[in-house]
């Protein structure tokens, strides 16, 4: 009666909040959210995400690498979708759904378990799937049973000539413990949004270079990078290692000889040897100026290829830099030259060589393109020869900081605990009641009837009752009848018991 009243009341004044509540409490809605998350997550794996591409320019990378589909992928924002507002909104919806679904079911379950009566009607006990009885029994039997149950670590409660022994109530909440674990995992993912809690990025360092990485609050310096190959042709790399130093301000805080898979940890940030630039760069060199015809040397000068001086002096000759291309390329269409990057991978120098009383002679020097130099240099008076050169490779370090990881692991542990509770433990209850000199014992469990049966038989043997076997699952009608007769057996009054998982 009360329920009917409540229901009509509900229908009459269903507020907006009720609608929201019912929406999130629906398992169907939860499943739709999970499917949406699964499908979108799959879409996000079609092409690599922006943080995993070997280019700082995603706007060109996707179109260049994957064609029109790639461009569309980038334009639709799928290339960075795990950080997109709609994906995170879906995750949040799932979190809300988890919370409300759990509240909706866990509170009735908790209340019904807390308020369950100790003394059940005999007719209900008789209806249990596992039932045994003994005639001509007295109160002492109940005492004996209580003792036996306690030995088996049951929690025994008594009320007059009735008894309720219960074991493993917590596993009934296993599903909700899993939910809590999932919520902790989601929270761990969102920890990344706290400023300073998450960073993942690459740093490229030249020999001796120091770079400050704002997001992690320290700088890294490359104190030396070694690269070794298995073969002389330098096709298969053997090892690449960096002597790295961590700087906070101008103070050196930590150093490590970084090798692959052995990161340096500083300030919760892992610094990995990740890669290296396969193309070596020019660092410093010694250039000799000779007379082309006679081969006579006029002397040498030192050049820093990263930042050359405007002019150099060799003996009485002045060499003025007209043009310097750190990474020279020839434009095949227009015929001119340009630099392909700001770094000296392939330096091209255009110099004017003069001395007092002699007009400047313009000529090129390209250490990596001797043929071009040769071709251009037919008329040259001088020869510029690189007699000594220092090359180096840039080292690529990967920085990874994620304060959410311990939270995610904690969440995983909770989920695992919930799963163990769900799968390996049962909620067992045994009722005993003495009525008119007859002892009735009935038992119930949420799973593993065979196990309960064994334990039950051992227990009833202590009062001298022969073993029994559990009855097959009651048909729906009978179950409903039993429910009407005996509410405590169905713990969740709204019939949610079956849907809890």
């Amino acid at each position: 009666m009360k329920q009917v009243q409540a229901e009509t009341q509900k229908k009459k004044q269903k507020s907006l909040f009720d609608h929201i509540w019912d929406f999130f409490a629906s398992v169907k809605v939860a499943i739709v959210i999970i499917i949406l998350l699964a499908v979108t997550s799959i879409i996000g794996t079609i092409y690599p995400q922006e943080n995993a591409i070997p280019s700082p320019n995603p706007q060109f990378y996707y179109a260049d690498t994957y064609g029109k589909m790639g461009d569309l992928y980038y334009r639709l924002g799928l290339s960075d979708m795990y950080n997109s507002w709609w994906f995170l909104a879906l995750v949040l919806l799932l979190a809300i759904s988890l919370i409300i679904c759990s509240i909706e079911r866990v509170i009735p379950l908790y209340k019904s378990l807390k308020n369950q009566p100790i003394a059940r009607k005999v007719i209900a006990i008789r209806g249990d799937r596992l039932y045994a009885n003994q005639s001509e029994a007295d109160q002492s039997r109940i005492d004996q049973l209580a003792e036996a149950f306690k030995k088996k670590r049951y929690k025994v409660r008594r009320e007059g000539n009735a008894l309720l022994a219960e074991k493993g109530r917590l596993p009934r909440f296993g599903a909700y413990i899993i939910h809590i674990g999932l919520l902790i995992i989601i929270a761990g993912v969102f920890v990344r949004l706290i400023p300073g809690a998450y960073y993942s990025g690459m740093v490229w360092l030249k020999q001796g270079e120091r770079q400050y990485i704002e997001d992690v609050g320290f700088g890294l310096q490359n104190n030396g990078f070694t690269l070794e190959f298995y073969d002389d042709a330098q096709t298969r790399v053997k090892k690449y290692e960096t002597d790295v130093a961590v700087y906070v301000g101008d103070e050196e805080k930590a150093t490590k000889h970084l090798i692959v898979n052995e990161p340096l940890k500083f300030n919760n940030t892992l610094i990995f040897q990740n890669s290296y630039d396969p193309n070596p760069m020019f660092k410093r060199g010694k250039v000799e100026l000779t007379d082309k015809a006679s081969g006579k040397s006029y002397g040498t000068f030192d050049i820093n290829f990263d930042d050359p001086k405007p002019s150099y002096q060799v003996g009485e000759y002045t060499l003025t830099m007209i043009n310097y291309y750190p990474d020279i390329k020839v434009d095949p269409e227009k015929g001119g030259v340009y630099t392909n990057s700001r770094d000296p991978y392939n330096p091209g120098l255009q110099l004017s060589i003069s001395k007092p009383g002699m007009e400047g002679q313009t000529q090129w020097m390209m250490p990596l393109a001797p043929f071009v130099e040769e071709m251009l240099g037919k008329e040259y008076q001088f020869k510029l020869k690189l007699v000594q050169v220092e090359l180096f490779n840039m080292t690529g370090l990967h920085l990874q900081k994620d304060l959410g990881i311990p939270v995610v692991y904690a969440g995983c542990a909770v989920v695992l605990w919930g799963l163990v509770l769900c799968f390996y433990y049962q909620h067992r209850r045994i009722w005993a009641r003495l009525e008119d000199g007859e002892l009735h014992i009935g038992a119930n469990t949420n799973k593993n009837w065979i196990g309960l049966n064994k334990e039950f038989n051992k227990l009833i043997a202590t009062v001298g009752i022969d073993p029994v076997t559990f009855k097959p699952k009651a048909k729906k009608k009978a179950a409903q009848q039993a429910k009407q007769l005996d509410t405590p057996q169905s713990d969740a009054p709204h019939g949610k018991e079956g849907t809890e998982k």
Binding site: F17, W21, W85, L92, F190, L193, I322, Y338
Partner: protein, 181 residues
């Protein structure tokens, strides 16, 4: 009892929704950090001081009263090379009417920049942003070339992230030049 239950529900929903909205706001804020957040058209363009190729110190605020075009470029950037003649042409054409071009070179070295300027015959001042403090940090330039247009009152009026043609520059600069008269 039903009332109490309802209140609990309402409170739960409100708390969850507010928390969700808060997190979403944080998400959007987080994603925007990468984009231009502080640089908004219509605001005063952030001032800076840099050395020029000739060794002089130049500030943006020195040019208050003129229309300033700040072009962020580098010699290795193909579209930058492409638009250079158009910029030079615009500078020559509108210099007398109060247009200033500042070519802000991103992280390159003196000698190659000088060579580039000579090759292209650039006459406008070239600023050396050796560590990217102005270009990448203050003005948050991502792709280059990027050009900022500052009006006579020092207000950031326009921003172009593509290589520009002469007529494109004209289209932006002309109204700005006329506006201040």
């Amino acid at each position: 009892m039903s009332n109490q239950l309802n209140r609990t529900k309402i409170i739960t929903i409100l708390v969850l929704l507010i928390a969700a909205l808060g997190i979403m706001a944080a998400v959007i804020n987080f994603n925007q950090k990468d984009n231009v957040a502080s640089l908004e058209l219509g605001n005063t363009a952030p001032d800076f001081t840099l050395k020029t190729l000739d060794g002089k110190e130049v500030s943006l605020s020195d040019y208050r009263g003129k229309v300033v075009m700040v072009n962020v470029w580098a010699s290795w950037c193909e579209p930058c090379r492409q638009e250079m003649p158009a910029i030079e042409q615009a500078y020559k054409t509108y210099q007398d009417q109060g247009l200033v071009v500042l070519g802000l070179n991103l992280k390159e070295k003196q000698v190659p920049i000088q060579g580039f300027a000579d090759t292209y015959g650039l006459t406008f001042p070239i600023l050396l942003d050796t560590d990217g403090k102005v270009g990448t940090d203050l003005y948050r330039v991502r792709p280059i070339p990027t050009t900022f247009f500052v009006d006579r009152d020092g207000i950031l009026r326009n921003k172009a992230e593509t290589p520009m043609s002469f007529s494109y520059i004209e289209g932006i600069v002309k109204p700005l030049l006329e506006a201040g008269r």
